[in-house]
Symmetry: D2
Subunit: 327 residues, 4 copies
């Protein structure tokens, strides 16, 4: 596969596509959200976090997104620019729609309920007319978040972006990123997740997310990858939480990735940091085995910190952690 090719001047290594949002994380620990009286503000949203995470690791990254034309939209744009993400294709919603919010409690390391404001949010109104196809053509890789498929017109924008990438030999990564509240039904979710994943070169998701994609329960990794490998995917990564992850190649390889144990503060943010570390490593011509380590190390670091975006590690952070475990 082609994901590891070297950086070219001006060419984006990665463009992420989908939602940029605001996280409001409880500043008090060991409390329910009802009891929580203060919240800290961070950039959130899976593809925004991956853009920030990979930019922090040194990749040349851009994002296609739509944010609110208000103070929260200003904050997100500003933070991403300071993180080194190219924001020229992040547009403003001109109809007064707001940016999505995620309130989190930190009740215990295992329990962290969330409360989302996703009704009619700006990111779901990202439209095909909001970005130039040339921007996608200029990239090595396009990462599309499954949540962007959940409603029109963002759904059509995402499908069009994937098709544009495919027709211009830009690699496509689909991060399943399933959030139930934005979808109408299981069948609908399965139809669009499947349509997108079949066209992807790389598919990343949790075991549950692959079940959602197939609209079946308790599938095995082997069944899931067998179905998808009939189409375009060449590499599929199934994440199993604390049990680690498994990468499958079209050629039949199976590579297992371990988890790096840490003091867990909260579990959210783990997936986005995993994707950031994993993609970075592939871009640097590391083996899939190595890339899984980078992903796990990055996830381990983020779950021990307060935010998802602000907590994204550096290459040094990751490599020190890997060495510590291997030493």
């Amino acid at each position: 596969m082609d994901l590891g090719k070297g950086l070219e001047i001006m060419k984006k290594n990665l463009i992420t596509f989908g939602r940029a949002a605001v996280d409001l994380n409880a500043t008090e620990y060991n409390q329910t959200m009802e009891e929580t009286m203060t919240f800290s503000k961070y950039v959130g949203g899976s593809p925004a976090n991956v853009a920030i995470g990979t930019a922090k690791l040194g990749l040349n990254v851009g994002m296609i997104a739509k944010v609110s034309d208000d103070q929260h939209g200003n904050f997100v744009l500003d933070y991403m620019e300071k993180s080194g993400v190219d924001t020229r294709c992040i547009t403003r919603d001109t109809e007064g729609r707001k940016i999505g919010l995620t309130f989190t409690e930190i009740k215990s390391p295992q329990e962290s309920s969330i409360l989302m404001y996703r009704d009619n949010v700006a990111d779901l109104y990202l439209d095909v007319t909001d970005f130039d196809d040339e921007y996608i053509q200029s990239a090595e890789t396009l990462l599309v978040s499954g949540t962007s498929l959940s409603q029109s017109p963002s759904r059509e924008a995402a499908l069009h972006a994937i098709e544009t990438a495919k027709q211009n030999n830009v690699e496509v990564i689909v991060e399943l990123d399933y959030r139930p509240y934005t979808w109408k039904s299981d069948v609908e979710t399965s139809i669009y997740m499947t349509t997108a994943a079949r066209r992807a070169d790389v598919v990343i998701g949790t075991r549950d997310e692959f079940d959602v994609l197939e609209n079946r329960e308790n599938q095995s990794d082997e069944e899931s990858v067998k179905n998808l490998f009939q189409y375009d995917p060449k590499l599929i990564v199934v994440k199993h939480g604390v049990k680690g992850s498994k990468a499958f190649t079209k050629e039949g390889e199976v590579i297992e990735g371990d988890v790096y144990k840490t003091k867990v503060l909260k579990t959210f943010g783990a997936g986005d940091s995993f994707a950031s570390g994993f993609i970075y490593a592939l871009k640097k011509n590391k083996s899939i085995q190595e890339a899984l380590k980078y992903g796990s190390a990055a996830a381990s670091i983020v779950v021990s910190r307060h935010s998802s975006s602000d907590a994204m590690p550096t290459v040094e952070d990751i490599e020190i952690l890997i060495q510590k475990h291997e030493g």
Copy 2:
């Protein structure tokens, strides 16, 4: 007028009608909202604040409202109950709609921009089937917030509540409480504000809000009250911000109310605390002159504190402040 009649066992002195929401106030001062990184959570929404404010002053108060069926809805209900407000007619939205949010910055005492999440919020879906007419019939006074008129079905619920009150000799106070973002047009606002205000016994609003009601600019207080006194209102209070307020009676009296100077932290919350103090005093058979003092003192205390709801003063707080100024 009848507002000052004594408390009866079991009979609510006041039922407020309309939105209960969550305020997220900047914990850092002298910063824009973009720069603000932590927010403190309070109950918000004008009629919720008045319910809390008057309950804290000792009135027997209930509220008719609809809140989200989530952590924020739990918080609001719980807080109001602890404040002594009867919440049996506050229902939960069963369609997953969220409670409204207001983020505030505290840039300077004069400038405090806000950012509202009001799209499709639970309070605008309060329906006539959500409350019993008997609850209104059991009250001395019904206070309806103008914002509840801004969209259906909350609009029809508010008009029905007013009509039910009128037909059962329950006094009606309309607090104009104009929030532009929930209305579609100036004509629409004028139509429904007018329809409600003409049926009210008491109308309270700022100078700007009376202009909005009439869909005219730069009207005088005298013109506004002349129009409304052709219909049911007996008492009209026009608030002029730092210049104080004026109360007009149908019989032709004009009573001026002063402002109690204080160190202003932020201006929001002033109107709700004014209404709380004013209504409390009338219920206690104070004169209109005295009631304006109670309103001004309560407003003065709230603008010097961090929140709108939590900052509501006690009777003692108010009376000490009045004595200090008169002394």
Copy 3:
């Protein structure tokens, strides 16, 4: 009352407000709609029919309405112009909305089921910005159809039109014209029917429609008029179908109107022709007693003919029929 004042040059005797639609009447008699294979096209919609009916009787009539920008809209506009109705305030829907349709069967004189296409139709999108207040100010009388109150923005346009008329001493007739399928609930219907009727000078409706207005069952005419006469109405006409009609004045007069027996083909169209004859006669300074005769005669003629609009009688038709009955 002032309805009978003489015609003035240029001044409209009557402006009707609300829906213009297309009727598709079965050409075959004694068949269900399912069996009916051909339909004839006519202009329909209560206020359009009254405009055509009164114009045919010689009044100077205009209409405020919104029709589709298509072949059916062309037909309606053209037909009304040929009938002598001033159509300069009939606008076109620019969003592609269609004109309402009413399919009718003529199964038997007593049974004539209908099938309506009213979803998202142009007339319910008539907006306050679609007409000039001056047009209303130029009229002697404004007739508003209750159906125009059933949805926004037509609802606000109707309430604004009534308010504009009231403030300019233009008489207001409210024709209750209740069509259940456009209303969401009985309470909603009652709220807006009541709001409009209380501001009217003349209210016309069937016994059932007055029950709908009050959201009560089996009210007597006396109860209904007692409630409304507390407000602006001076003349109220309650129609009892084959049992005739009753007119009530604020001063306490009760005038009964008989029905003119005829060979009934179908019953629809009776109300609009009654209103046309009744209003015409009042404008010509006839007594209320005489006006009820004109209304009954006009209704009698229309129910014996195939359409509602095309069948509207001339003054001669009406007066011949009255003479025949009195002779």
Copy 4:
């Protein structure tokens, strides 16, 4: 290919999927629609017409559709049953939505403008829960109309039906059937037409419809089939109106079909009768060359008659016409 396999007892030869509607055809010729005063009622909608057309030719046919729960819905169901179509999977809309209407004028053989009522119609609310997957599994062939892809939830129902057919070795025909008024944008149309057509075994459309599918102008037949033959299609038919049609096979054959000249009354209905004749012939093991003749003959007969559905020819009609031309 497998389309010509013999009829099996109980097994449906064909299930059509999509809209059933009502056509209201001008009974007067050589007039604009504005001038047309009477209309005749017929069953309409492309997949309904093909179901009726093929049933009349003797195939065992069913339809998956949603119709209104009113007199027009009754008429359509009844007519289809009498035509021999299995209607057990035609459901009723329980939300009061209407069946689509198409008014046609017959101005001249070349000009026949139409006026459609398609806003919020029942067929676009056909949902995955409205039919059993087993029904599709029981068929030899599923024909999906492109119009069913134009809005949710009919869009997802159509994509799910195609996927169900594919996974059960039921052949899939996609009839592009592009109707601009139901689609939001060209990009959206292209995305879903492409998604469906790539999964089809057979694709049928006009030259213009293939351009719409590709969102390009003036493509050649060769370019269109080259793109689609990269995916599942085995047979593609491009219709060129009066210039005849061309069938392309994945193996590279190109078969041209002529037009059978006739006295044209109106052009609508030609496509549906073509599809009916063509599919019938393939099912009867005729060659593609022969099937194109059956299609052309059927189209020729329908354009000389007044309706689309009622005019569908018998096998005898078709074969007599073919013999006449070949003799």
